[in-house]
């Protein structure tokens, strides 16, 4: 081994620029997957905090019946923006772009992704999309007020900046597609010697399955958006019945993307869960193949359930029952994962540190989310609760209780690796608990209100809903307070946290074999893989914090 490679290994990727620039340009023009991951983290976390703050204001308006702090038009705009920002700017790109970028190459023993420049391009396309969303708020016409689903005909008729906002989603789609192509190629081409498919960590499997959905499903939303823009600008009748179009066709096309997109959101989170559970149980995963295959099953069957968003739209009764049946089928692989995760704790050596507590949080909240999905998959009950708060509660339990919780779990798991510092564990433990309390206070009452008949996207409500609305709003204070508290102590730890070792948790996947933060090209020498991904007998030969 030459001296040169050792010199690289000693310096972290923060200290070595991969291009001829230094300072800010060494970041903005970087092709290092880790630096790009960090840039995504900063950008996406910013939009997450914006989305959460908007949610806070929506809940504040609903604290009391009648006008509390804003008018109806403002409220309609806010729930649209909350949806657009959280869906397109936070949760779809979130885990793959941040943690996929940073850890997927390391976990398969690669020095970078297959197309590093394309990776940087994806980032800038994301930024352009985000800027378009922001611009659409301030140009004449006013911010979009259609809800994040942009249902036609309303989205054709409203005078607000629909074209600009959905064009932003169109642009963001390309970022997603390019990232997907990059990850698929990386997994196929850049695995280290000995890293066979069934030796890949499950986070890689999950991100790989996600990447395929990104590639295959995203073009559908791109086409749909273009058609809406053509319809708005040129008055061509495609979806608007007044012009001879079909509004139900729009709903089909929208959900053909947006339902698989739900799996783009959740699958990477499921991958992270497998990583965290094994590390803190210090034993191999229970049912590696079923977990990996269930990711693929979800990715595949997930394409065939889109119309369960449309049971009361007036599509044919035959389509309705077929989609109901398929929806129940797609519940099964998620169940398989949950059972295998819990079984992985059996006869382990469990150290319930902060990331593990987030996973326990996840299993509880995501189970509620998944099980409440059964109520929505069943036709008789869906007719009653669709388009009510019940649906709102369901997808917040799945998306926020699932992916959002694991966003924090992954953050706390990989923070020492990414930044070489440890956060305050006492603060972090308190945050898990207050998050849990705030979350359930905010969203659980919505199940009850939904069943009582509270429709969603309502600026105001009947007096009988007042007590539960109040509980929900108080929950939002606890939850958003916790989120800002977490942001605070993590930012503090960046500079002032104690230095973290290369392997603070005793993990065995490849990222724990290299220093924290990792050196520029990750490995001095590309490793040869001989162990299974979760073989903790390796720990004997590794350095780790006992």
């Amino acid at each position: 081994m030459s001296n040169g490679t050792i010199a690289i290994a000693e310096k972290s990727f923060y200290e070595v620029s991969t291009n001829k620039h230094s300072g800010i340009l060494s970041w903005l023009l970087t092709t290092d997957h880790k630096r790009i991951g960090i840039m995504y983290l900063v950008t996406i976390a910013f939009f997450f905090l914006v989305g959460a703050t908007i949610g806070l204001f929506m809940r504040l308006e609903l604290l009391t019946p009648g006008r509390t702090i804003m008018g109806a038009q403002t409220y309609n705009t806010l729930f649209t923006l909350h949806g657009v920002i959280m869906i397109f700017l936070f949760i779809i790109p979130g885990l793959p772009a941040i943690f996929g970028n940073f850890f997927l190459p390391i976990q398969i023993g690669a020095r970078d992704v297959a197309f590093p420049r394309l990776n940087l391009l994806s980032y800038y396309i994301y930024v352009i999309g985000a800027i378009l969303v922001l611009v659409s708020l301030f140009i004449p016409g006013g911010p979009i007020d259609t809800g994040w689903t942009f249902y036609i005909p309303y989205s054709i008729r409203t005078g607000t900046n629909v074209s600009m906002a959905i064009f932003a989603a169109f642009v963001l789609g390309f970022s997603s597609i390019l990232t997907g192509i990059n990850f698929v190629t990386t997994v196929h081409r850049l695995r280290a010697p000995g890293m066979t498919w069934f030796k890949m960590p499950l986070f890689v499997w999950a991100t790989y399955a996600t990447a395929w959905i990104q590639i295959i499903a995203t073009p559908v939303i791109g086409i749909t958006i273009l058609l809406v823009i053509i319809e708005r600008v040129f008055g061509v009748g495609i979806f608007d019945p007044a012009l001879g179009g079909d509004p139900i066709l729009y709903q089909h096309m929208f959900w053909i993307y947006s339902h698989p997109a739900v799996y783009i959101m959740i699958l990477p989170a499921m991958g992270v869960v497998s990583e965290i559970i094994t590390t803190f149980s210090r034993r191999t995963i229970f049912g590696y193949v079923p977990i990996a295959m269930s990711s693929l099953a979800i990715a595949f069957v997930g394409y065939l359930v889109w119309a369960h968003h449309m049971f009361v739209s007036g599509m044919s009764d035959t389509a309705t029952w077929i989609f109901s049946l398929l929806t129940f089928i797609v519940a099964l692989p998620s169940g398989v994962k949950i059972f295998n995760w819990v079984a992985t704790m059996y006869k382990g050596s469990i150290d319930p540190q902060v990331p593990f507590l987030w996973v326990m949080n996840f299993i509880f909240l995501f189970s509620i989310g998944g099980l409440s999905g059964l109520v929505l998959g069943s036709l008789a009950t869906d007719v009653h609760v669709t388009d009510t708060y019940f649906v709102v509660a369901h997808f917040h339990y799945v998306m926020f209780g699932g992916t959002g919780t694991i966003f924090f779990g992954a953050m706390h798991y990989w923070f020492p690796k990414m930044f070489g510092r440890m956060y305050n564990k006492k603060f972090a433990t308190i945050s898990v608990i207050t998050f849990f309390i705030g979350f359930n206070m905010l969203y659980f009452p919505k199940f009850i209100m939904g069943y009582m008949g509270m429709p969603r996207r309502y600026y105001d409500y009947l007096p009988k809903f007042a007590p539960l609305q109040e509980v929900s709003t108080i929950g939002s204070w606890i939850l958003v307070g916790t989120i800002f508290f977490i942001t605070g102590y993590l930012l503090y730890a960046l500079r002032n946290g104690p230095k973290a070792s290369g392997n603070p948790w005793g993990g065995v996947t490849l990222e724990w074999h290299i220093p924290s933060p990792p050196p520029t090209e990750n490995f001095e020498e590309i490793p040869t893989i001989t162990h299974e991904p979760y073989d903790f007998s390796q720990l004997k030969e590794m350095e780790y914090d006992k």
């Binding site: 038009q73 309609n76 259609t146 809800g147 249902y151 005909p153 309303y154 007044a242 079909d246 509004p247 139900i248 034993r283 229970f286 049912g287 590696y288 079923p290 009361v312 739209s313 007036g314 009764d317 029952w321 109901s324 129940f328 089928i329 519940a331 099964l332 949950i338 059972f339 819990v342 079984a343 704790m345 059996y346 006869k347 050596s349 469990i350 150290d351 326990m360 509880f364 189970s367 509620i368 099980l371 059964l374 109520v375 998959g377 069943s378 036709l379 008789a380 009950t381 869906d382 007719v383 009653h384 669709t386 388009d387 069943y451 429709p455 969603r456 309502y458 105001d460 409500y461 009947l462």
Partner: protein
């Protein structure tokens, strides 16, 4: 046990109860097992962890049993839906017209109201039509809703067997005053309804 202002509402509540009961058992089972394992196999106790790679019997069990459970849920859900979609020949027809942001109900004799008056114990077919954007006719107490679209003819069945007044809401976002699209469903005895229906 499961009764409502219509037989259908009771049936929907039964399906809900069925699914929620199974879900609660599963949720508590999963959570309790997880918490039990965290204490039982805590690292502080100094167990040597055991690498168990899987168990084909268990994998089969937790695919087959949930499959049976969800198929039964599908069945009950489908049966409830079928009864909701069934249109008898002699149904009493009322046309529902939605626009931003109000409801209108048109009766066979040309009577037009903004409150929905119906006779008790009669099978009523509501023909749904919108004059502008998507709406959704939602009667929470009866556990029913159906989208009301422009240019597409939808319908909804309603068979009330309880007198009284019930909320009607719009459940599909339709713009500025979506939240104000509330009106009432009034269920009357047949003779009172006839009296109302026959007065000009």
């Amino acid at each position: 046990m499961f009764s409502g202002p219509s037989a259908h509402a009771g049936n929907v509540d039964f399906v809900m109860f069925y699914i929620v009961s199974i879900s609660v058992v599963l949720l508590l089972g999963i959570t309790a097992t997880m918490i039990y394992f965290v204490f039982k196999y805590n690292r502080k106790k100094g167990h040597k962890p055991k690498d168990i790679h899987g168990n084909i019997v268990l994998e089969t069990v937790w695919i087959v049993i949930p499959t049976i459970l969800v198929l039964s849920m599908f069945y009950y859900g489908y049966m409830g839906f079928r009864e909701f979609r069934y249109v008898p020949k002699d149904a009493f027809v009322i046309d529902v017209v939605a626009r931003q942001w109000q409801w209108q109900f048109k009766y066979g004799d040309g009577k037009t109201t903004d409150t929905l008056y119906v006779p008790i114990n009669k099978q009523i077919k509501l023909n749904l039509e919108s004059l502008d954007v998507n709406h959704s006719l939602y009667i929470p107490a009866f556990r029913i809703k159906q989208d009301v679209l422009y240019g597409i003819k939808n319908y909804m069945m309603l068979t009330p067997d309880e007198l009284g007044s019930f909320d009607i809401a719009c459940a599909e976002y339709c713009g500025l005053d979506h939240w104000q699209m509330y009106t009432k469903l009034v269920v009357m005895p047949q003779d009172k309804f006839n009296e109302w229906y026959n007065t000009k």
